[in-house]
């Protein structure tokens, strides 16, 4: 589904069909720079199970990106993600020197020169976003959750992944947002608007969450308190994954859920450490890493020549 179709379907949606889960798609670029001045332009495209990002890197520096929902096929999602930013800045595909695909649809990016796993790309992206002190990365993606260890260069030294269960992933959060009828971006802030911090919900499974949420509402919980109980459950779930690999200082969260303070702050609370701050959109870490790998490869080629 391309952006126009998506926008049209939202416009036509009846109020009771409101898509609370729909998160903000966005296109951002550095308006103080002109990409035409760059010697080397590389692009990273992360086709994830739920979202796709295209990132442009000019001479090794982040220049701009586009983040949108993955459609029903990978090649189109990759194309739309890149087209979304290129159209806005007047760039053409031939202006880009090198394209790296990553994410679960990485082998289906038709114009990519290379495919690199998202584990490596997230580590590399996190190293750029949080600096070389980043050692432990938690990637909370649309349909999986990864704990990654890396060295000061952003090279992966170990990782663990859960892709078997929606609890603790973006998809799980989307289900909750629809269930509570609260737009997904509001879940985090609302989860702190409670009189007492509730216990985590007992059902790990997102499918059982429905009956549990209703039970809690009947027992007198406010919606915010139910959301808080979910954010806590999600935090506990990913912390158990993190603890299996060990958490070192220089902790950094990437992926869509990194934008939900309701989960992030609770993870920090359980671990007793603060994550490394960044001003860059956490959702682009994979695509950014891919574009940076592309830049490194271009430099190597230039040296060899």
């Amino acid at each position: 589904m391309n952006a126009e179709v998506a926008a049209a379907s939202v416009a036509e949606a009846a109020p009771e069909k409101k898509e609370f889960w729909r998160w903000q798609e966005n296109t951002v670029w550095d308006e103080n720079k002109d990409w035409r001045d760059a010697k080397i332009i590389t692009c990273g495209i992360d086709v994830g199970s739920v979202s796709s990002q295209a990132v442009l890197v000019c001479d090794g520096e982040l220049y701009g990106y586009n983040s949108m929902r993955t459609g029903n096929n990978s090649p189109d999602s990759a194309k739309n993600a890149l087209q979304g930013i290129m159209d806005k800045i007047g760039m053409k595909l031939e202006d880009i020197n090198y394209v790296v695909g990553t994410g679960y649809g990485r082998v289906n990016v038709p114009f990519a020169h290379k495919a690199i796993t998202e584990i490596a790309c997230h580590a590399r992206g996190a190293n750029y976003m949080g600096g070389n002190k980043v050692r432990t990365i938690l990637d909370m993606g649309g349909q999986d959750c990864k704990a990654i260890h890396c060295d000061e260069k952003g090279k992966v030294t170990n990782f663990l992944m859960n892709d078997k269960c929606a609890a603790g992933t973006g998809r799980g959060m989307e289900v909750i947002s629809d269930l509570m009828q609260i737009p997904i971006a509001e879940l985090g802030p609302r989860s702190f608007d409670v009189d007492v911090e509730p216990e985590a919900v007992s059902s790990i499974c997102v499918v059982f969450a429905k009956s549990e949420a209703l039970g809690l509402l009947k027992a007198g919980y406010t919606k915010n308190k139910v959301i808080a109980a979910y954010c806590q459950a999600m935090a506990e779930r990913v912390v158990s994954l993190l603890e299996r690999i060990g958490v070192e200082e220089g902790f950094f969260i990437t992926g869509g859920i990194a934008k939900n303070p309701g989960v992030v702050k609770r993870i920090e609370r359980i671990l007793g450490i603060k994550q490394v701050e960044t001003k860059i959109d956490s959702q682009i870490a994979g695509a950014l890493g891919a574009a940076l790998f592309g830049y490194t490869l271009m430099q190597k080629q230039a040296k060899a020549a």
């Binding site: 029903n72 269960c165 499974c205 997102v206 499918v207």
Partner: protein
């Protein structure tokens, strides 16, 4: 003497009234069941649902409340049945009810809305061992229900459609939430609905079978719980467990409530 067993499941309440009569001095049991009262999300509270189902069961059987000697409850929500004098676990109740119906049964497979489990039982209907999963919907009725919704088939059509397929398409997703997307992509790739239905039911059966194998498959196998109504699932389960025959009670969702009422009656002696 009349006793009652109430099975408070996650999605429905089942009530069984059991009457013990003396025939030529020897005790005999008759039982009547009351159609389960289904609870849907947004429905009345669990304790009210139990009260309502019990009242309806009494009216249907023409029995007054004070004629009931004792009420036992089982199921995930058994603590919410306020008028029950005692609670028994789903394993105890399921094994007891299944062996009462099929004295030769030694392995009881119970697949309900939100949980699947395997129970090993002795000849008295005592649960010796069990394995289940209450953390995840993948090996339970909810999984099948969600997928039939994605396929836009009624549960009945869904189970029957599966029987028309001889394909084995492995499902990659274990999680119900992810499997729903997988089903949608199978629909988009023009996979026939009956093949998708079979793929889904094979997946549930293989999860259930893994639990049953943890207690061991011995002797006659009886399947209880709502999934008995799904012939496609029954077929998939037979294949997964590699058994020729699975005993199927007529009123599968009432077996645990019956077991519960039987235990209540025994305690009276």
């Amino acid at each position: 003497m009349i006793t009652a067993g109430i099975d408070m499941g996650s999605r429905s309440v089942k009530v069984v009234l059991l009457e013990e009569i003396k025939v030529d001095g020897a005790p005999q049991l008759n039982y009547s069941v009351k159609k389960a009262h289904l609870m849907m999300p947004g429905d009345i509270d669990a304790d009210q649902a139990a009260e309502k189902a019990f009242t309806e069961a009494l009216a249907a059987a023409g029995v007054s409340r004070d004629q009931v000697k004792s009420v036992f409850a089982t199921g995930a929500g058994r603590k919410q049945v306020e008028f029950a004098t005692e609670g028994v676990t789903e394993m105890t109740a399921g094994a007891r009810g299944a062996v009462y119906m099929y004295p030769q049964a030694r392995t009881v497979v119970d697949v309900g809305a939100e949980e699947g489990r395997g129970i090993k039982t002795d000849s008295d209907g005592k649960a010796i061992d069990f394995a289940g999963n209450e953390k995840c919907a993948a090996g339970a009725g909810s999984f099948a229900e969600a997928m039939s919704r994605a396929l836009q088939l009624s549960l009945k059509e869904f189970g029957e459609a599966s029987l028309r397929s001889d394909k084995s398409i492995p499902m990659n997703a274990q999680c119900t939430v992810f499997a729903e997307s997988e089903v949608v992509s199978l629909i988009h790739s023009s996979t026939p609905k009956e093949d998708i239905a079979k793929a889904v039911l094979d997946a549930v059966a293989s999860r259930v079978c893994a639990m049953v194998r943890r207690v061991g498959i011995e002797g006659n196998v009886v399947l209880i719980g709502g999934m008995v109504h799904n012939p496609g699932f029954v077929q998939s389960l037979k294949t997964a467990m590699d058994v020729d025959q699975v005993l199927l009670p007529d009123l599968p969702e009432f077996v645990s409530a019956l077991g519960c009422a039987l235990i209540a009656a025994e305690r009276q002696h």
